[in-house]
């Protein structure tokens, strides 16, 4: 597995990074758990190493913390890599990677909208899918909805 090489490289360079529970990951793509402050640097490094395609960016609420998952792919070599970041649930903040991958723009806005993760550095961070003035973040597990005039 080629991606493992990059993983080890990153683990050497950035302290605090670790493999992310490989037994959980069923699709066989190596995953990296990295601390939030290093994310931007790690992504920058990955981009320089040829991971030129951001397949997906999404976030999950794990009740105790939020997790942002980045799926990268190097199109030429077809090597895939997953980067995960655990965030504090109360004040989730993570550097935006939109300056590196403009394709992350709406996906970060979606995460902001639906899970309430703040991405400092994003050019235009505002709600995307929900109407203006929506309260709460629906994809969080503890989200409860107040009935409105349409229910």
């Amino acid at each position: 597995m080629d991606a493992q090489k990059y993983l080890n490289e990153i683990k050497g360079r950035f302290p605090g990074t670790a493999d992310a529970a490989p037994e959980r990951i069923k699709d066989g793509v190596p995953a990296l758990l990295c601390p939030a402050p290093f994310l931007f640097e790690i992504v920058k490094y990955l981009k320089a190493e040829g991971f030129n395609y951001l397949m997906d960016l999404c976030a999950t609420d794990y009740r105790d913390s939020l997790e942002v998952i980045y799926h990268f792919c190097a199109l030429e070599t077809n090597v895939k890599l997953t980067v995960k970041v655990r965030l504090d649930r109360e004040k989730p903040e993570l550097a935006s990677i939109t300056p590196l991958y403009p394709g992350a723009d709406w996906q970060e806005r979606e995460a902001f909208d639906l899970l309430g993760i703040n991405f400092p550095g994003h050019p235009d961070l505002k709600n995307l899918l929900l109407p203006c003035g929506w309260e709460g973040h629906p994809l969080r597990k503890d989200y409860s909805r107040k009935p409105d005039q349409y229910d």
Partner: protein, 174 residues
């Protein structure tokens, strides 16, 4: 030309024989309205494709004089075809308000009838009748175009019972 229908029936009623005139005028006007339903080209989600299919070669709603118009001003009918979300609901209301009387609404598919597969979603309006009055409900997910044609026939029946004294407003507001 709305003026013609605002006052005329009430004046006519007081004349001898006016009732017959109104009845025959009713018949003629309702016939024209029922046979010239111009829907708004307005699709929301999955059902929109069945709505478009119904307009296309195989089913051809044009046979009944259903002739899609892109602007609400010229439309008599909205097919609410698909899921109505809370973000879209004010827009739909606005579109409905922009249409001239008489106007009709066909709610097509489970989503617009009651919320359907998204009945427990946070972002979906549970039935389009929460926003605008609906004349005919067509069930299905999505309904077959045949079913939609049945809906239109049902609406035509409803229109034919109308009278000009209501000025085309014989709608049941719930």
């Amino acid at each position: 030309m709305g003026i013609l229908l605002d006052e005329a029936p009430y004046i006519l009623e007081n004349f001898p024989g006016g009732g017959i005139v109104i009845t025959s005028a009713d018949w003629f006007i309702n016939w024209s309205r029922a046979n010239s339903l111009w829907p708004l080209t307005f699709g929301l989600a999955c059902c929109a494709f069945e709505m478009i299919s119904a307009n296309m070669s195989k089913y051809d709603l044009d046979r009944f004089g259903v002739f899609p118009r892109p602007t609400p001003r010229q439309a008599d009918l909205i097919f609410v075809a698909g899921t109505l979300t809370k973000k879209m609901a004010p827009r739909l209301k606005k579109l409905y308000d922009q249409m001239g009387e008489p106007k009709y609404v066909i709610s097509m598919g489970s989503c617009s009838n009651t919320g359907g597969p998204f009945y427990d979603s946070y972002a979906v309006v549970k039935g389009v009748d929460k926003v605008i009055p609906v004349d005919v409900y067509v069930a299905g997910c999505p309904p077959r175009p045949e079913n939609l044609i049945e809906g239109i026939k049902k609406l035509q029946e409803k229109i034919k019972k109308d009278t000009i004294k209501n000025n085309g407003r014989a709608k049941i507001f719930k």
